[in-house]
């Protein structure tokens, strides 16, 4: 394998608001120029607010298709509307019209239109940026167009670009801020990962979502470790999470106390390791642990 010495680390949380992005950005600062950063939370990308990338290069991202009707060729037979399972071809003012929000680009209508009035067009669904961060590393990030589909494909694009850049530049790490949930963007962000960092919080929802996202990770057989953020908010829930970690053999990376430094740092556009506080050391030790796990042969 050519990418043998690149370690790809994906940070996930299942539930939002656990501090995932703040922690990912901190690891990115600690790794410095030995890492390529990928923001795969393309739906609500935030890491740029802390790493201040320069948006050096922009690429349009096309994915999926959209049906378009040439009204001059259409004979109003209605076959397209009949076959469309997404109700995307309503009849309006005696014309069949494609509703772009509903059209999933399946192309069935195009295949059955007797007059060849329908063509499929490429659909722009976002932009990809390749930037330099404030610590000099390269960051690949993206923005999904509003209400667009296929965030899974955009995630895959961001990751593949990051990987190519890491290979070309002989970097040791790829640090990926993953998407929330358990759907296609998460699955895309996991493909090819060497280690997953799970960030959770001691609430019933935190544990519930942790279990669901862990079930997805297990399918990929990737090693994982967990950070319990705001652990002092609810000690019993923290204990329960630890119990789950032991059962599932997930590394317990750290307990982070509730600290307003997360939002204070954010307002200064800094990561928590750029501000003097006890958390700086704690996060530093997480990074050391992760590196140790990655280099250990098992």
């Amino acid at each position: 394998m050519q990418s043998n010495n690149i370690h790809e680390i994906v940070v996930l949380s299942g539930k939002g608001g656990t501090g995932k992005t703040s922690l990912t950005a901190s690891l990115a600062v600690l790794a410095g120029n030995d890492a390529v950063i990928a923001d795969c939370d393309v739906d609500a990308a935030n890491m740029h607010l802390l790493l201040r990338p320069d948006f050096g290069e922009t690429f349009e991202f096309y994915s999926g298709e959209l049906a378009v009707i040439n009204q001059d060729l259409c004979n109003q037979c209605g076959t397209c509307a009949e076959v469309c399972r997404f109700h995307a071809i309503p009849q309006d003012k005696n014309q069949y019209q494609i509703n772009a929000l509903d059209c999933e680009g399946c192309g069935y209508c195009e295949k059955v239109c007797p007059t060849h009035a329908i063509t499929m067009q490429e659909r722009r669904s976002g932009s990809v940026y390749i930037s330099k961060t404030k610590v000099g590393s390269t960051m690949v990030h993206a923005r999904l167009d509003i209400a667009a589909e296929n965030s899974g494909k955009l995630v895959a694009k961001v990751k593949n670009d990051a990987k190519a850049i890491a290979l070309a530049g002989n970097k040791h790490f790829i640090i990926v801020d993953g998407s929330p949930g358990i759907g296609c963007p998460v699955v895309s962000s996991l493909a090819g990962a060497n280690y997953v960092i799970l960030v959770t919080e001691p609430t019933m929802s935190g544990l519930h979502d942790l279990k669901r996202v862990h079930a997805v990770i297990e399918r990929f057989r990737i090693k994982s470790g967990c950070i319990i953020n705001k652990y002092d908010l609810n000690k019993e829930q923290t204990a329960e999470i630890k119990c789950f970690l032991r059962e599932e053999q997930i590394d317990h990376l750290a307990d982070i106390p509730y600290d307003s430094i997360f939002s204070e740092a954010m307002i200064e556009e800094k990561t928590i390791v750029e501000i003097e506080s006890p958390l700086k050391q704690l996060v530093g030790s997480i990074w050391e642990k992760v590196k140790e796990q990655l280099t250990r042969k098992n």
């Binding site: 608001g17 609500a44 399946c106 509003i146 965030s151 929330p180 399918r219 939002s263």
Partner: protein, 289 residues
């Protein structure tokens, strides 16, 4: 507003973890003190509302999507299906036709265009919908199976169920998935009003902007609830003023709320300013629609 039609309120947020679940569950419970209320959890990837609602399970129904099933005996290996599918969900591998269930959008094209009917559509379980009776509050949870990747079809099915079986519940609250892409659009499309829950931080503001753009694209009236007010700065308020987006309520940061939340407890009747905020929000919505 048409008095025969239920009032549908969607609760969304660009960023996850801003308090969408907290707000939806408490709003629904608060409303149900006075009238029959429906709460629908459409965050199908990570449904959490159930942690806060006690009641008895009325019904659990498995939800299916339709996928093609290859009939080897009929197939002539003409290759049409493989060329038809835009999502590469049906692929010819030598003399074998493979169907990748997670990729299939159930468009029926490969199946209906197969010259020898060798790809009949059949049911595939993708999730389940649970209905819980909690007195004046009816709660519906829509949950995607782990391993399924597409939230949208399940969200549509849940809306259909609500519109056929629960249309006489006059007020309906929909807890939407986070983000700005297809799942949240599918979840909010039927709403009369969208409440966007955010927090007063740079992340909150960034995602709020995207969420507002998304809702404007589908032409929904929106209002903003600022949760954990006091932890950050006032940029969110400034932005809303400038963009003329109404701020419906500001819920101060309070560790007590966080602790109740962590244990799966509702706060609408425990903390006075929450009760006041919820009343304000609902009055504002009723004025707006």
């Amino acid at each position: 507003m048409n008095p025969d039609k239920p009032l549908k309120i969607a609760v969304a947020s660009g960023k996850g973890g801003t308090g969408k679940t907290l707000f939806s569950t408490n709003l629904a419970a608060f409303l149900s003190q006075k009238q029959k209320t429906l709460l629908v959890d459409l965050d199908v990837e990570e449904p959490n509302d159930f942690l806060f609602i006690n009641g008895t399970i009325e019904k659990i129904s498995d939800q299916y999507k339709m996928i093609p099933l290859w009939d080897e005996n009929k197939c002539t290996l003409c290759g049409s299906c493989s060329n038809t599918c835009k999502y590469h969900a049906v692929v010819q591998l030598g003399t074998f036709i493979a169907v990748f269930t997670e990729l299939c959008h159930s468009c029926y094209a490969c199946s209906e265009l197969c010259p020898v009917q060798a790809l009949p559509m059949q049911r595939h379980k993708m999730g389940k919908i649970t209905t819980i009776d909690s007195g004046n509050l009816t709660f519906i949870e829509s949950r995607l199976e782990v391993g399924e990747e597409q939230a949208v079809p399940l969200i549509h099915q849940t809306h259909d169920l609500v519109d056929t079986q629960y249309k006489d519940i006059p007020i309906q609250v929909f807890d939407c998935p986070p983000g700005t892409s297809c799942p949240v659009v599918a979840a909010a499309r039927k709403a009369d009003f969208v409440v966007l829950v955010t927090e007063p931080t740079p992340f909150g503001l960034n995602d709020l902007r995207l969420a507002i753009e998304t809702m404007q694209k589908i032409q929904k009236p929106v209002g903003v609830v600022i949760n954990r007010w006091g932890i950050g700065n006032d940029e969110v308020e400034k932005y809303c003023d400038q963009a003329q987006i109404p701020i419906l309520a500001k819920i101060p940061f309070d560790r007590q709320i966080a602790e109740y939340y962590s244990n799966g407890e509702l706060v609408y009747d425990k903390i006075e300013y929450i009760t006041t905020s919820l009343r304000q929000v609902i009055t504002a919505i009723q004025h707006a629609v």
